[in-house]
């Protein structure tokens, strides 16, 4: 059985269709993307004991539960950073299976924690164990997809990472459906829902790990000719993780991802409140707006990553930063002129570029560092996501609260936050425009980058 998970046993036989690899990757990403739907558990978890209403002093509080998501994202970054080399070594099948064991095991442990009302067990289950599954799962199909699609790396990685954005679209209604099914007079059904999700997701992810294959060393798509010279910042060499960490390009891309994510989180964390306070829409309508943003977050991942195959990665990020900064700058104006349609359109474009930033970065790394260690390098770069996930909301909330306590009106406090986001994107643009091709002295031997 153990041999089945070996990289050698997952090498594709002649005739294998490479178009089977994206659905295999989606099996993983659509499941682990459930983490974005964690907020559906918040309300029932704060009344886990009281059932119909929170019991003060006994039930958990919203800030206590907020740490579960933050911890999961933090561990995601750490697991992908430290597990990247291991994922490259063992191959996608074992990595995907390991991800399934950790992520689904974490859900089940968290479900037991909710049942026993032990918060530390929920932190351990969903945050730490589940977070490891998130990190390993997120990077596990990336380098395999890039090797199968040397002609369209943006499309390939965009398809997989689209799944991470789409995971919430399945996870949220499925969780609500299950909680509704399991809830009774004695409980909110969260525990049973988490355990059921753990089992369902394991089956789904296991199928993905069964389908995935790696190409043979000499495989290339029919008619594809690997570039023989570096062109449009696409390297013809390979850089290993240890060497990549010594290049300025790695840190510039770290800054690019960090700033793009921080600015995107500015939208995600404030959009619902903003649309309610600036336009007076109901909470139900605001929830619909957030749902619409989820679809654009997902769609932007495949759209922008695919476009980057034609426009180039640096140009794609330049569009994110320039267009994003303009839109952030205009959002307060759309509020002042009470144009709900323009406000919604601006946010949908911004959120599509937030998703696009995640999906385009693996192909950017492949262009600069080659394919040999791209999974590990991608894993290391995801620490930028962890940092932005923690620093972004904290900074944004702090700035907003500081202004309100100093007499700034709520609507104006949003405006200043939006202007700050625009400035962050300008800094991101500078980082992006500073990226140049990696110096050949960092290349390993003289191998070509593409298989």
């Amino acid at each position: 059985m153990a041999a089945f998970f070996d990289r050698a046993h997952s090498v594709a036989k002649p005739g294998f269709s490479r178009w089977l690899v994206p659905p295999a990757a989606l099996c993983i990403h659509l499941c682990i993307g459930e983490v974005y739907a964690f907020s559906v558990f918040t309300k029932p978890m704060v009344q886990a004991i009281g059932v119909t209403a929170p019991t003060p002093g006994v039930d958990w509080t919203v800030p206590q539960l907020g740490w579960i998501f933050s911890l999961a994202i933090l561990v995601l970054g750490l697991a992908s950073a430290f597990g990247g080399k291991w994922v490259e070594r063992v191959g996608p099948r074992l990595a995907m299976f390991t991800s399934a064991v950790f992520f689904c095991g974490g859900l089940i442990v968290a479900g037991i924690g909710v049942n026993l009302h032990l918060l530390w067990l929920v932190y351990l289950g969903y945050g730490v164990i589940g977070g490891i599954g998130l990190g390993i799962g997120y990077i596990s199909p990336v380098s395999t997809l890039i090797k199968w699609f040397p002609d369209r790396p943006g499309l390939a990685t965009g398809t997989a990472i689209m799944g991470f954005g789409g995971g919430a679209l399945i996870g949220a209604p499925l969780s609500v459906l299950l909680m509704h099914r399991f809830a009774d007079a004695t409980g909110t059904g969260v525990s049973q829902t988490m355990i059921t999700l753990g089992i369902l997701y394991f089956i789904w992810m296991f199928v993905g790990s069964m389908i995935v294959r790696v190409p043979t060393e000499d495989w290339k798509p029919a008619g594809y000719v690997a570039p023989t010279e570096s062109a449009r910042m696409i390297t013809s060499g390979n850089v290993l993780l240890d060497q990549a960490l010594k290049t300025p390009q790695f840190y510039l891309l770290w800054g690019v991802l960090f700033l793009n994510v921080t600015a995107g989180i500015g939208v995600i964390s404030q959009a619902s409140l903003m649309i309610q306070e600036m336009f007076g829409v109901t909470a139900v309508a605001a929830a619909g707006f957030v749902g619409l943003m989820s679809i654009f977050n997902m769609g932007g991942r495949i759209f922008w990553a695919s476009m980057s195959d034609f426009m180039g990665r640096r140009m794609t990020y330049a569009i994110f930063f320039v267009l994003g900064a303009i839109l952030y700058f205009l959002v307060p104006t759309f509020g002042h002129i009470h144009s709900l349609v323009l406000f919604i359109l601006a946010f949908l474009v911004i959120i599509s570029m937030y998703g696009g930033g995640f999906a385009t970065i693996p192909a950017y790394l492949r262009d600069l560092f080659g394919t040999v260690n791209v999974g590990a390098i991608h894993g290391a770069l995801l620490t930028a996501w962890s940092a932005a996930g923690v620093a972004g909301p904290v900074a944004i909330n702090y700035i907003r609260e500081y202004q309100i306590t100093h007499g700034v009106a709520k609507a104006d406090a949003y405006s200043i936050t939006m202007y700050l986001m625009a400035i962050l994107l300008v800094v991101g643009l500078i980082c992006n425009l500073s990226v140049r091709a990696v110096n050949e002295r960092y290349y390993v031997q003289s191998q070509p980058a593409t298989t």
Partner: protein, 45 residues
Amino acid sequence: MHQAEERSTAASSNTVMLFLAWLWVGIPLAWGVADTINNATKLFR
């Protein structure tokens, strides 16, 4: 002749696998997107 038959069988099983694999991920995703769009329409009511 025998090799041609084998290639044909392999190609058709590959097509079936492709179809099933995309259904496996496509159906839940389509359900999630439809549910989200249904909720999002409340924004415009």
